[in-house]
Symmetry: C2
Subunit: 350 residues, 2 copies
């Protein structure tokens, strides 16, 4: 999935203090990203603690460290993010704004990472609110779901912007030529849904430049690969994503119980279990490196809070690929070309 | 699950014209409900057509038929429901209002059934909007999810009412002594969520009479059996319910592919497949007879649109049990006792 060009890339900055297993697993994952994938990172956080871990991995010379005294806890939300100018995420954002780095990776509290990076990186012109894009392992092609939790209260116009962000993401990161966009609702007909989706449906039907709108999709279509991009508000998207996780977990648990219940089933079911594990891995956010916060002046990859080293390494590779594909610039150009005709001006000033 | 008392019960009325397989499968399922479960129904719809099917089953004398010329199509929504005073659902509601029947079963378009019965049965005093309750097969006890799609744009006060409706339903239908209620949101902390859930959380924390509020639950908790009742708006609830269906369908398809891929796995995997089928059946709305529209002056069971005879029969039994447990009256008494202190008056007049 690497999209590297010949040009030397900027560094990506990793929040060493974010996540349930920080800083140990985060630093270890970053080292893996350097050694196995050629990523060029900067680690931000408690410098002394980070250097200790680097030294234990004999990696002190491989990764520069920038100190940040403050840490936002995993149980802290958006407000904590805003109130801590010296937090590792805030310092990391500053490195991006000053041009020292091109993308951020954090496994910290989603609310705090979104709020901090929104404040410090600011929205791209024409994008009112950012959205978290996640990749669902559907067939034949993966599906981009957004927003998975950045903007809980979205306006119809924002869903139109999310459709543009998702289209750019599917095209640039997944190589989908002309991504088809579905609107998550509760019925396929235009009139079905809540106020938000009914109005968004109208706007999207109004021929939005560069968006191939395929109409409404339902919860049962999320994993069916019917469309390439599914657009929804951050509340519904987060509930749907976690419902998928919970459902798969239930089925896997049921299967495991069936296997332990009968010895005769154990042997023959091995193949199925392997397949189930593959499926779970495909659904596991670690595999895809986590969600990507789109719409800001800088790329932010939000890894799962429970990420261990492999998940962090995958997130670093994803951040590098996104930065090198110049996704922020590409989205900017596309939206600038569209804006004068299509996007309602009153939303822009917010 | 039967809650029958000694008193002779009123009839339930079945919309013979609603559903993808109407009227054939609906009439057949109603006959099953009579012969195997002692349900006493009335069939409403095209009388000549219904009598033909009854005759083919030699059941002409077993079930009274009431004629209704008009039929609301499966692809028609709320408006169609409102505009058709002679539709089978409208005629069925009239039978309930006049005291000839106590509950309605329909596998017709959900939007049309909700709109028609809301108009014709009217909300119970103190209930602003109805909610569809579905039973999820969680362990150790089932979980009631509401609203699964009746009220797409809900207000915080309505979610409080849904909590009361769901509590009554879990207690009366499932026999859960003191049901614990969770609010579906995107984070466990009170501050997480969208405007609707943050305000609903405040209201529910304010000690609502008769509701044991356990705080927020997430999408991943839906099938975990953490609480007995999960409250949400009809849009989010419908997306979540259909996402569960889609996820389970995906896993089952993956498993089936694994089995056909290898002959050696076929035999040993039989047990697992049986278990998967059981799980799917548990998740299948046919097993539980469908969703129940709560909050109106009459019980309405909305069976799955694709229901065949067994699903219709299960819905008839559910409707009979609900009517005999006097769930409408019990909810009414409970809300009347609570209302003066707790429910915001401005919502009542809508």
């Amino acid at each position: 999935m690497s999209l590297r060009t010949g040009a030397p890339s900027k560094r990506i900055v990793v929040d060493a203090m974010g996540g349930d297993n920080a800083p140990g697993e985060v630093v270890a994952g970053t080292i893996t990203a350097v050694r196995e994938h050629g990523v060029r990172p900067i680690l931000v956080g408690h410098a002394a603690r980070i250097r200790e871990i680097l030294a234990a991995h004999e990696a002190l010379d491989e990764i520069p460290v920038v100190n940040a005294e403050d840490v936002v806890g995993m149980d802290e939300g958006a407000l904590a993010g805003l109130r801590r100018p010296r937090s590792s995420v805030a310092v990391a954002c500053r490195l991006i704004r000053r041009g020292h780095a091109s993308a951020l990776v954090s496994a910290g509290s989603t609310g705090a990472v979104v709020a901090t990076s929104r404040l410090r990186l600011r929205g791209q012109p024409g994008v009112t609110r950012p959205a978290i894009a996640v990749v669902l392992p559907t067939r034949p092609r993966p599906t981009v779901l957004l927003d998975a939790g950045a903007t809980a209260d979205a306006k119809p116009e924002m869903l139109v912007q999310f459709a543009m962000l998702g289209t750019a993401y599917a095209r640039i990161l997944l190589g989908t030529e002309s991504p088809r966009v579905g609107l998550l609702s509760i019925g396929e007909e235009a009139g079905k849904g809540n106020k938000l989706t009914r109005r968004a449906h109208e706007l999207l039907t109004g021929d939005v430049e560069g968006v191939d709108f395929a109409g409404n999709v339902e919860g049962s279509d999320l994993l069916a690969g019917k469309v390439d991009v599914v657009v929804t508000d951050g509340f519904t998207g987060n509930v749907a994503l976690k419902t998928v996780e919970g459902s798969v977990r239930l089925v896997v648990a049921e299967m495991r119980e069936a296997v332990t219940a009968s010895r005769s089933a154990k042997f023959g079911a091995l193949l199925q279990r392997r397949r189930l594990r593959l499926l779970r891995d495909r659904l596991d956010s670690e595999t895809y490196g986590g969600g990507v916060l789109l719409g800001l002046n800088g790329t932010v990859v939000i890894a799962h809070g429970a990420s261990r080293a492999p998940g962090v390494a995958a997130a670093c590779v994803l951040a590098r690929d996104l930065a090198e594909s110049r996704i922020v610039e590409q989205i900017g150009e596309r939206i600038a070309a569209t804006r004068p005709h299509r996007l309602p001006r009153r939303e822009e000033s917010r």
